[in-house]
Symmetry: C2
Subunit: 370 residues, 2 copies
């Protein structure tokens, strides 16, 4: 039998009674710290716990308790082989099925008719949403930032899409504790991407992408070491968040969209607040809005110019031109109405149509009203 056990976000403290029971009865106990960090202290405490029950194992000669590396889990053959005859468990930070690694291992076990069970536990993701005081229902797709500019493009686009829908974005950050060399039986130096670097990467992307309008005034929340004794959530403008020094992890960054007043109240009371909350979505420039903000006023001016140009050419506007101009005017007014109603597709269609009517006369009469 194979158990994939989530230890939760507070190591021994968050381990469930049932998980401890399972661990005590398992022949083989693996720990890994590449999907999330697990400390040596936890390993030591577990060793004591497990040693008490070794005598009760049916085959104590097979007993094994050790940290294993990424390749060992991903290869998985030894694990699955042992799980055919022995009780094997793997201990994982947080909830075990958030990392795709274990979903895949479970599928492989099922295909080989090996009994397998996941034990769920507290997860950093949901915990920090709750701790931040933001509504879990107002979060859109979550995303992970790696320390590389390509990754930050995906993150930028995810924030943009979420914000267009009025949703907050949770950015998980790169964590790396497996260089393939480190001895995992001793404490190593895990790499946690700093929240500072996340903000810097977002500001860098802003230069090319120009849609969210990130600036020193953008509001963000940084969650550090959620579940740990020194956990903290800091809220403030990018410029304030950039001034702090962040050590260790895991860290996450939240870019909120518009905030409900109860969310503002929570930020004020639950976080270390450096600046009062700001509605980031007011800075957002959606593709559709950018188009309409520019095109509607421009087309109004062009239509008025065209009217004057035609009138100065003819003493009186002929009925056919008048019909085109009237239609252009009506569709411009429709574009504004649709825009105000948030019906962006119809607004864009209307403004395009009005521009086409205007330009048809421009092409025919070779006069440029723009």
């Amino acid at each position: 039998m194979l158990y994939i056990i989530g230890i939760g976000i507070s190591e021994y403290d968050s381990l469930s009674t049932n998980s401890i029971e399972i661990i005590r009865n398992c022949d083989v106990i693996y720990l890994e710290r590449f999907t999330g960090f697990i400390s040596d202290e936890f390993y030591d405490k577990l060793k004591v716990e497990v040693s008490k029950s070794i005598g009760t194992l049916s085959s104590p000669e097979n007993h094994e308790l050790k940290f294993v590396k990424r390749w060992f889990i991903e290869d998985g053959r030894e694990i699955l082989q042992k799980a055919r005859t022995l009780d094997v468990c793997i201990l994982v930070y947080g909830d075990p099925l958030v990392a795709t690694t274990y979903g895949e291992l479970i599928v492989r076990a099922k295909k080989q008719d090996i009994n397998v069970r996941a034990i769920h536990s507290s997860s950093g993701i949901l915990s920090l949403m709750g701790e931040s005081g933001l509504q879990p229902y107002k979060f859109g797709k979550m995303v992970t930032m790696m320390d590389d500019p390509m990754s930050s493009i995906t993150v930028y686009n995810t924030i943009y899409d979420n914000m267009c829908n009025g949703l907050h974005t949770l950015i998980l950050t790169e964590y790396n504790n497996d260089d393939g060399k480190t001895d995992f039986n001793s404490s190593s130096n895990p790499f946690f991407l700093s929240p500072k670097r996340v903000i810097e990467l977002l500001l860098e992307r802003e230069k090319d992408m120009k849609s969210i309008n990130f600036s020193s005034n953008t509001y963000g929340l940084v969650a550090c070491k959620i579940g740990g004794k020194n956990s903290i959530i800091i809220a403030g403008k990018f410029e304030s968040l950039l001034r702090l020094d962040y050590q260790g992890g895991p860290n996450s960054v939240i870019i909120p969209a518009g905030l409900h007043f109860t969310e503002e109240d929570s930020i004020q009371n639950l976080t270390k607040m450096l600046d009062p909350p700001i509605d980031n979505s007011k800075q957002l420039s959606r593709m559709a809005n950018r188009m309409l903000n520019k095109y509607i006023p421009n087309a109004k001016i062009a239509l008025s110019n065209l009217n004057s140009m035609l009138k100065s050419e003819m003493s009186e506007l002929t009925k056919d031109y008048q019909l085109v101009l009237d239609n252009a005017e009506n569709y411009l007014s429709d574009a504004q109405t649709f825009y105000d109603q948030g019906k962006l597709e119809l607004a864009i269609l209307s403004i395009g149509y009005a521009e086409g009517l205007i330009d048809s006369i421009r092409f025919q009469k070779n006069m440029n009203p723009w």
Copy 2:
């Protein structure tokens, strides 16, 4: 001191060692089952656990262990009053901060300088995402379905928005265990909205909204009693899911968008699969796509008709008309290209513009090519 303790999704089994320690040392222990169900068996087990430690309490005369109702928690005054001098804990199903109720209580406690701490635990939301084999990163905004048609409109729109972005939707379902009358010290009959009713409501909304194109062939996943001994995830077409009989809860429904092949593999191996996976997003008809699918071919025909009409009127097309027609042709071709590239705003603008060029001649010459 006030503790808000998540008991997780498996009652005593999912309770953490730290939570048990806190509960043992608390003077006042409240349980509630209006944000999520907690059984009488759990209450009984807890009573035994707590009775062992009553002797160690500093003021055992204040000891209290009981189920409380929604109004008692939402009012909160008695809880906060007691927490000034006693150690008080509230036990909550799942993770405690998913329900807004407790975020608000924590803020009130902080404002009154009462020490407060949330203990996180396994949550049904993240657990069932993992158990389903779908990628947690591919879920959009989540939503709750209540047993009323107005609620189903919000759910429908959320699924639509998520699917437009290629994201799965997790639908939590109404749970009600507080009619204000029930005696909460005895087992009551909680109301769990049936997955069947969720599907029926979505199919009803389809009749008016016509965007997602829900049908008997839509693919869904139903998660029942996640965390419990009889937990199960069933995957299949709506018509297959509607044939089953669902008892109790909690239940959730997932409407997947497009599926990655590893997700299809997981569905096949981790769920009770009634039908092979289907890509729901192929049925989706986005507003923009509906417009473009109709308008581009229609405008092509109109342009060709206009060409013939003009030619039959004049022996040779004058240069000014030719310029308008050529431009219309170019913009129609642009519209198609932008559409193929997924640049929907630009595609709509181009098709509107081409239509405007065509209609300008239509108005001037009083000829209808549409």
